[in-house]
């Protein structure tokens, strides 16, 4: 490809200028790649710590208080519902006293929301307990040991898997006991603290929510229904906004690089006017001249893109290691995507910037170009 060869040699003619143009692209691509990876890593880190289940509704009593047994039954008529009682209490674990969240749940509901790491779930009406993963880690709890809550000393029969901070329940730092045990410890005649509704099909979430509201809030506001889907989407949107914002910063630096390439290429076409005239006179077509210049900007973009992406990946690595202290986010496909996005943007910007100068050079009239000194 003769015009590719020309492009290479023409760039080599002004090495310093070409290197400067490449540096512009490098910085732009570096910014896009590094900021993209950063945004994505933060998103991954957050979604790992948040338990985001889209097909759940959480029903809370309106304006404090509890949800009565009657209201719970009305909810259950609409969809599969899990009543939750909760309390915060002083608990002694391995000899240490601490304040812990305590959930009282029907034993059949527990496997619907949680998974176990070790041991087993609670049997119906059990007087034992389950502990969350962080609690187990922090207090070095093992299956078979006993916790001490008020006057009771329930045996730990199971340790739960890490679940993350949820909007429904957050069991990682909590103790789970059966509803019977909860009733024996606390006054439970008042009702439930919340009801979690599982909707089979995520598309029906809205409908189920409306129906619950219709049935329970007929006369007055009794419950407040929180839709996890909305929260999950809100959070996703927030992270998307952050990502777009970070990419925007990268895009601005690429824009600057694009202008500098445009400048370099314009200078080149003016300097080489006579040469273009000669090439045209001895039989080079317009498209040949166009290709030569486009190859030049392509080469600048490809060099800048690849170098920038490598540096950006390195910067992403540093950020992940130093700030997030976790390298695995770096190799997630959604992070690697930004490496290629950076390269594509670098090449795209460069070629786009080269388009006008290349077009102008190809439109030069051979006789006028030949006369140019």
């Amino acid at each position: 490809m003769i015009f590719f060869k020309f492009a290479k040699r023409n760039l080599a003619r002004h090495k310093f200028r070409s290197v400067l143009a490449v540096i512009g692209i490098v910085i732009g691509v570096l910014a896009i790649t590094a900021l993209g990876i950063l945004g994505n890593s933060v998103r991954l880190a957050a979604s790992e710590q948040l338990c985001m289940i889209g097909n759940e509704l959480v029903v809370f009593p309106y304006g404090g208080g509890t949800i009565s047994e009657d209201d719970f039954e009305r909810i259950e008529k609409v969809a599969d519902a899990i009543p939750v009682r909760s309390s915060v209490d002083k608990v002694i674990l391995n000899g240490e006293s601490t304040l812990v969240m305590i959930y009282g749940m029907r034993s059949k509901d527990i496997p619907k929301l949680m998974e176990k790491e070790d041991g087993q779930f609670l049997k119906h009406g059990s007087l034992n307990c389950l502990v969350g993963s962080r609690l187990a880690d922090n207090y070095e709890l093992r299956v078979g040991e006993r916790a001490s809550i008020e006057s009771q000393k329930p045996r730990i029969v199971g340790i739960l898997k890490e679940r993350g901070i949820g909007f429904d329940i957050s069991p990682d730092n909590a103790i789970i006991i059966s509803d019977k045990m909860f009733s024996s410890l606390y006054d439970s005649s008042t009702g439930y603290n919340s009801v979690i509704v599982k909707v089979d099909n995520i598309e029906d979430v809205e409908e189920v929510r409306e129906e619950i509201e219709d049935r329970l809030n007929k006369k007055e506001e009794v419950v407040m229904v929180m839709e996890l889907k909305m929260i999950v989407e809100g959070i996703k949107e927030l992270f998307n906004t952050i990502s777009v914002f970070l990419l925007g910063i990268g895009a601005i630096s690429l824009l600057v690089a694009g202008v500098s390439i445009l400048n370099v290429m314009m200078m080149s076409t003016v300097e080489r006017t006579k040469e273009i005239g000669v090439m045209r006179a001895i039989g080079t077509s317009r498209s040949g001249i166009l290709r030569m210049f486009l190859f030049e900007s392509l080469i600048l973009g490809a060099f800048g893109g690849v170098i920038g992406a490598i540096l950006g990946f390195g910067a992403g690595f540093l950020v992940d290691v130093l700030i997030l202290k976790e390298v695995s986010y770096l190799f997630a496909p959604s992070s690697i995507f930004y490496v290629f996005l950076g390269i594509a943007f670098g090449i795209g910007t460069s070629v786009l910037s080269g388009l006008y100068p290349a077009w102008r050079a190809s439109k030069l009239k051979p006789i006028e170009a030949l006369r140019y000194e």
């Binding site: 040699r9 003619r13 040469e275 001895i282």
Partner: protein, 227 residues
């Protein structure tokens, strides 16, 4: 066979100050194998005539045929193809492409045309103009003026054109080198190529077999000299 035929050609340039008639009803025909010079003072229309014969420009009125092909109404791509295949240019300032070596400059038109064997043909042409292979590896700025013009002549011959157009080919050379270049052009002509030289140097015209004299856009007279 006529390689160049201009019939009543007029070229008018529209300038902001008004239109300028660079060629006024010029009729010229050149037979294959001729060695022609075009003379005249500056502003006489020499360059315009050369540009039209060289398919770099088209006339305002009149008919032009180059190598038997009518160029009236041809588009840029077709004119470019004619320049590549039928015309070889030799310029006053040599105008070799600075990024290519001497040999590559000669090979370039052959590559443009998409022909095979440009390696071999390029080397043969280089040798035929008296530049050795080692020197052919140099970039134009590493060659002397005379050497550059030899390479330019070899480049002009690369696609075996009908006509060689030389615009003041010795204008930038000293007397001795000029003579060598004219001898080389003469030899090229003797091998059957039509050569048209634009010059205002009577010494150059002496080498040619026929001279057109241009004054104010008209071909004033035809001088035959037999040297």
């Amino acid at each position: 066979m006529k390689v160049v035929e201009l019939v009543e050609v007029t070229k008018v340039y529209e300038l902001p100050r008004g239109s300028v008639k660079a060629l006024d009803n010029v009729s010229v025909s050149i037979e294959a194998g001729g060695f022609i010079s075009i003379m005249g003072p500056s502003g006489s229309g020499k360059t315009t005539l050369l540009n039209i014969i060289g398919c770099l420009d088209t006339p305002t009125r009149g008919r032009v045929a180059i190598g038997g092909e009518n160029i009236n109404g041809l588009g840029d791509d077709q004119l470019t193809r004619l320049r590549r295949d039928k015309i070889g240019f030799v310029f006053q300032q040599f105008n070799l492409i600075p990024t290519l070596t001497a040999l590559e400059n000669i090979q370039y038109p052959i590559i443009l045309k998409g022909l095979n064997g440009h390696e071999k043909k390029g080397k043969e042409l280089l040798e035929s103009v008296g530049i050795d292979e080692k020197l052919g590896e140099n970039k134009p700025n590493e060659l002397s003026g005379g050497e550059q013009q030899r390479v330019a002549i070899a480049r002009a011959l690369a696609n075996d054109p009908d006509i060689i157009l030389a615009d003041e080919p010795t204008g930038n050379l000293d007397t001795k080198t000029s003579k060598d270049i004219l001898v080389l052009l003469k030899e090229t002509n003797e091998r059957g190529k039509t050569i048209i030289v634009v010059t205002h140097d009577p010494l150059v015209a002496d080498y040619t077999s026929r001279t057109f004299r241009l004054v104010d856009g008209r071909v004033e007279d035809k001088v035959r000299n037999f040297k």
